[in-house]
């Protein structure tokens, strides 16, 4: 369970995030939809403790991220905006490194690596060095790395960016199965179709604010549009920065 309460962040003259509040519940996929620059990434960085909010707070399973960052991080699996890998390490070594940093023991790590290889369909990638991987293969490793410690709360920032159609479909399956297993999944995107296809609950961002929250059906009803994508455009007021 992730709760965002009144987050604010200003960079110089730009109010990047103003009074953002929402919550993402367990067993659901919550989508953050908004054009590029709407404040999604900044909000997620405040949730991940890397950016200090000017006001407000973020809670992970009731733990204040600012007060107990390491406790909160233990419960979070984060795929951030930048997802660089170490080209000279193998996929398995990436999982081992990050699992180790989460304090996992060798046996647990091996079991978890096998699970993730299955879940993300990356068995044959495991012992190859990352240097020659395709964009989709890299994303799999990055997601595996974020999930290695079996977090209950999963935050994916633009997870399907740069993926081909097949990989995107596979990724949706993974996200769906994580939510179905009881996890809280928070998923940000500027792709309307993706959010429509995946999310149980949608938080619509524009110009640093949350402009609407609701299930797909509620958003359609509120705007009087049959088509969810038309509803988004109506809520945000423009389709600039959306896909």
């Amino acid at each position: 369970m992730i709760q965002i309460e009144g987050l604010e962040k200003r960079y110089g003259a730009v109010q990047a995030v103003q009074g953002v509040s929402f919550q993402a519940e367990d067993g659901k996929v919550t989508g953050l939809l908004g054009p590029n620059g709407a404040g999604k990434t900044t909000t997620l960085r405040m949730l991940s403790s890397l950016v200090e909010p000017d006001a407000g707070r973020a809670l992970v399973d009731g733990i204040d991220v600012r007060r107990q960052p390491r406790e909160a991080l233990r419960r979070l699996g984060l795929l951030p905006d930048s997802r660089g890998l170490y080209p000279r390490l193998t996929a398995r070594e990436h999982l081992t490194y990050f699992g180790g940093l989460h304090g996992m023991r060798r046996a647990a790590l091996e079991r978890r690596t096998a699970e993730l290889a299955e879940l993300l369909d990356m068995r044959e990638l495991l012992d190859r060095r990352v240097a020659g991987f395709s964009q989709g293969e890299r994303t799999k490793v990055a997601i595996g790395r974020a999930l290695v410690h079996g977090p209950h709360n999963i935050v994916l920032d633009e997870a399907t960016n740069g993926l081909d159609v097949m990989s995107t479909r596979a990724m949706r399956g993974v996200i769906r199965s994580l939510a179905d297993s009881g996890c809280c999944v928070l998923f940000s995107s500027h792709v309307m179709q993706e959010v429509s296809a995946l999310c149980d609950e949608i938080v619509v961002f524009a110009r640093g604010r949350v402009v609407s929250v609701g299930s797909p059906a509620e958003l359609r009803a509120r705007t009087g549009e049959d088509n969810l994508e038309n509803a988004f455009v109506k809520i945000i007021g423009t389709d600039v920065g959306l896909e």
């Binding site: 170490y86 940093l101 989460h102």
Partner: protein, 385 residues
Amino acid sequence: MIRIIFFKELTDHFRDRRSLLGSLVLPVIGPLLLVGLFQIVENLERERPLDIPVVGAEHAPRLIQDLVANGAHILPAPPDPEELVRKGKADMVLVIDASYAEHYRSAQLARVRLIVDDSRNESHKNVRRVERILLGYTQGLGALRLMARGVAPQAASPLGLEEIDLATPQKLAANLLSMVPLFLMLAALVGGMNLAIDSTAGERERGSLEPLLLNPVSRSSIVIGKWLATSLASTIIALVTLLGFMLTIQYLPLERLGMKVALGPLQAGQILAAILPLTLFGAGLQMLIATFARSFKEAQTYLGLLNLLPMVPAMFLMLGPPPDDWWMLALPTMAQVGVVVRVLRGDLVPGWQLLVIALSSLAYSAICVACLTRLLSRERIVFGR
């Protein structure tokens, strides 16, 4: 946690063949350069045979006798003496005028000409020898003539000039050995340079810094793990360099040049005691600087400049004796160079001085690590804005 980060950085680094080979250049080149330069010095010192082609030798048999008695080999007259000297095939050619015998007998000025090329350094020594032989011959002859006329020879040469040459081979060799501390310093700094950059500026440029910081690990653990890995990489390169110099110095014909340099385990231990703390500080400082750089390339430029730093004390040493003022012990690189030079000269450095060197370097390292830890909490550093 520190252990996990330490081992990951080392694994990553040791798979980077290109940068590994790059950092091995120094330990290999240093000793090789020493051997090469030594060979050159030795060749300079080894006396060249004193071969003198002489034109008109038959006019001055006594003079020729005197030259031969002083170690010269008289060669037959070449067809074109000037060409021979200009092309460097002979150090000089002695030309004796046809009128020499007649002028000699009548005590007039008897002309001999020495054709030399003053721009050729390698012939200077022999030319000077021949000039001295000729001068000795003419002074001896003049003295005899004066005595025959009842005049004391001293009256004609008021100065008794004697030259004492101090440019001994030992000196040259000692100057050459002053490159040893320079290379050791460089190795201690350059050895970990790539790791220092890769684990800071590189990590951010690659986009792996943000994911790394999302682990429940303290910033200081991350920094210390990376710092120790960088220090170890530097230490390895410094060790290999020291070993290379130990082997070379053992096999260099230093005794032939009248030098005694002992670089045994005790001496190596003292040098290491001075250099190991420097690798810790060097690693910290390089990481700190690289953290401010916007990219890998930019960091390389900065650190390239930083690595010129040990040149400064090395230059001072070329000019004068090693510093032993106490405050210099707290100056990294200066202190280390001082220790290496003194050890190479056969002195042992007192333990308290080594302790001051170690403690000061450790203190600077701690400052670097503390700064790095704070920097990693800054949004501007983490996200590279």
